[in-house]
């Protein structure tokens, strides 16, 4: 198991290096630099700025400098937030996004599993049908639409919760629901269909035949096997939550990474774009690693391999 983990970790680092290189190349290809947009700068000043950020050096040297910096956790200075390091900006904004994403993920898993199990236990009944219609609608509802509706109704009409900003637990509710509901619907659908798949197996019939109660069969035999596909999607789902945070942080004016990333793209703040991209990729690599390990822990057959 440790060897598997070590191999995955090594591959994860290779992926991060590839992502860093890819982003570097992509952003080098872009016509125009980050300082073009401002009003025409005198050439001497422009030259000074470029020298300060090493933009006057050949591409390969910039690349070596960048990768070398990465190795010691230095992501370079921000182009737009003068005097601030990308690493500092990310260190400040990441915890906000992480907290939001974690709450949304917990919400998605709890709500999704509950609805999925309730529906999958009684296939074909009214509860099942209603739940699945809701889940299908939930999958099709873009999170910016959901967020706007929630703000309109809960904040503006009912005055129950704040419509924006990030100043305490009350401010977490609407963004977390906005971010987590789509994934919850997805998990509900997956759990239901996975439960139904497992229900046809012989060992379930055996479990029933030897006199176990419905609850025992469900929680001891059916659910552990049905959860495997759900665990598998949690990695990619973490990605959905991470990217969803672009929109949700924009909607609710939350000072997290997502909002800074959007601003960075608008401002062409290349170091910040690259730093944020790498952090997102690292998160995903870690999420998938955790899922792999959880998988090995849940399924003895994977562990042997």
């Amino acid at each position: 198991m440790i060897r598997v983990a070590a191999r995955r970790l090594g591959w994860g680092l290779a992926v991060l290096w590839a992502v860093a290189t890819l982003t570097f190349v992509l952003l080098r290809v872009v016509p125009g630099g980050p300082f073009d947009a401002e009003k025409q700068l005198p050439p001497e000043i422009l030259a000074n700025i470029e020298a300060k950020y090493h933009l006057d050096e050949p591409a390969w040297r910039q690349y070596v400098r960048y990768i070398g910096g990465l190795a010691i956790g230095d992501l370079g200075p921000s182009f737009k937030y003068v005097g601030r390091n990308v690493a500092d900006i990310l260190a400040e904004t990441f915890p906000v996004s992480f907290a939001l994403g974690l709450v949304a993920l917990a919400l998605a898993v709890v709500v999704g599993l509950t609805f999925g199990i309730v529906a999958g236990e009684r296939p074909g009944t009214g509860v099942d049908r209603a739940g699945m219609v809701a889940a299908t609608a939930g999958v099709a509802l873009p999170n910016f639409v959901l967020g706007a509706l929630l703000v309109l109704i809960v904040s503006h009409r009912w005055h129950l919760l704040p419509p924006a900003l990030w100043e305490g637990p009350r401010y977490l509710v609407l963004p977390a629901v906005t971010l987590g509901l789509g994934p919850a619907a997805y998990i509900a659908r997956l759990t239901r269909s996975s439960l139904l798949d497992v229900a046809h197996h012989e060992y379930i019939r055996t479990a029933h035949a030897k006199g176990l109660t419905r609850g025992m069969v469900l929680f001891k035999h059916q659910l552990p096997n049905a959860l495997m596909p759900v665990v598998t999607v949690l990695g990619p789902l973490a990605a959905t939550l991470v990217t969803g945070s672009f929109v949700v942080e924009y909607l609710f004016a939350i000072p997290g990474m997502g909002r800074f990333f959007i601003t960075a793209v608008t401002n062409r703040d290349y170091p910040l774009i690259m730093g944020a991209t790498l952090l997102y990729a690292a998160l995903l690599v870690i999420a998938n690693l955790v899922v792999d390990l959880a998988y090995a822990w849940l399924d003895p057959r994977v562990r042997v391999e």
Partner: protein, 288 residues
């Protein structure tokens, strides 16, 4: 593959069970396509015509969906936005389909080291969330409609590639392929006449899911101001404009949102139904 007769039977049962919901899908998708094609005929006003006497007007008989901050008719803008949104969704899905099929077919058919390298490359790209990659690419290829189509399809092809590779691997060692090979058919013939046709069913299903995914990506980016920009418009950019006036003029965001939601729902339901009908191995439980 199960015996022919029982497969036919379940197929038939599914087809009948599905027809009730299909009406909704066909109606919504048909309406969207018609509106996009006939935009100048359907829209009551030009999309940029301003009615300065009716800024931020609520829905009325003159302006069914009200007007925006410049007094432009929202219904007309939504009609023209349909063109953009549908075009981006359709075109990005088709480009992704072509790219992904080519990549997946090469990877699956050639196999060996080539396959391993191609799959490793895919894994690297998978390490970035879709939306993030689309944003990065759109920095390079530009915004606007062609840029959006390109950026979205350059991300969407990956799912297609994996699917096609898997299908090719599944079919290429079958006896009938061996027979064709033994009879002297070349690689191109085997691939195009015998292997790729096997993937048509799953590909149609994937295409149906890629279209709403493209529409969603475009509208999300346009909503936050990283996609389609003025003077062009799309459902997402209309919703984005509505967002800034949410508190006092909610109609501006409600109508574009409704258009996005209904279209996404129709395509997703259609995809589910096509998957049940065309791919008997997936979703077999739903006929319980």
């Amino acid at each position: 593959m199960s015996a022919g007769s029982s497969a036919d039977l379940t197929f038939d049962m599914r087809a009948r069970r599905v027809s009730g919901l299909s009406l909704f899908n066909v109606a919504v998708i048909g309406a969207v396509v018609l509106v996009a094609l006939l935009a100048p005929l359907v829209a009551p006003y030009p999309y940029d015509a301003q009615d300065t006497d009716a800024l931020y007007a609520a829905p009325s008989s003159a302006h069914w969906m009200g007007t925006d901050r410049l007094g432009r008719d929202l219904l007309s803008r939504l009609v023209y936005g349909t063109r953009t949104s549908l075009l981006v969704g359709l075109a990005s899905a088709l480009v992704a389909l072509v790219l992904g099929t080519a990549y997946g077919a090469v990877s699956g058919y050639v196999g060996g080291t080539v396959d391993r390298l191609l799959m490793r490359g895919l894994e690297v790209l998978y390490a970035l969330p879709d939306l993030l990659l689309i944003i990065l690419l759109s920095i390079v290829v530009g915004r606007g409609v062609p840029g959006m189509i390109l950026a979205i399809s350059l991300v969407g092809w990956m799912t297609v590639a994996r699917l096609v590779r898997g299908e090719i691997l599944r079919w290429r060692e079958r006896p009938f392929v061996e027979a064709v090979r033994a009879s002297g058919a070349g690689h191109a013939r085997i691939l195009f006449r015998h292997l790729l046709p096997q993937t048509v069913g799953p590909l149609i299903v994937t295409l149906t899911f890629r279209i709403p995914a493209g529409i969603l990506a475009e509208s999300t980016l346009s909503f936050v101001g990283l996609g389609i920009a003025a003077p062009q418009t799309s459902w997402g950019s209309l919703a984005g404009e509505g967002w800034s006036a949410l508190k006092f003029y909610p109609h501006l965001i409600l109508f574009p949102s409704l258009a996005i939601f209904l279209t996404m729902l129709a395509f997703n339901l259609l995809g589910d139904q096509l998957r049940d009908a065309l791919d008997p191995t997936a979703g077999s439980h739903s006929s319980s």
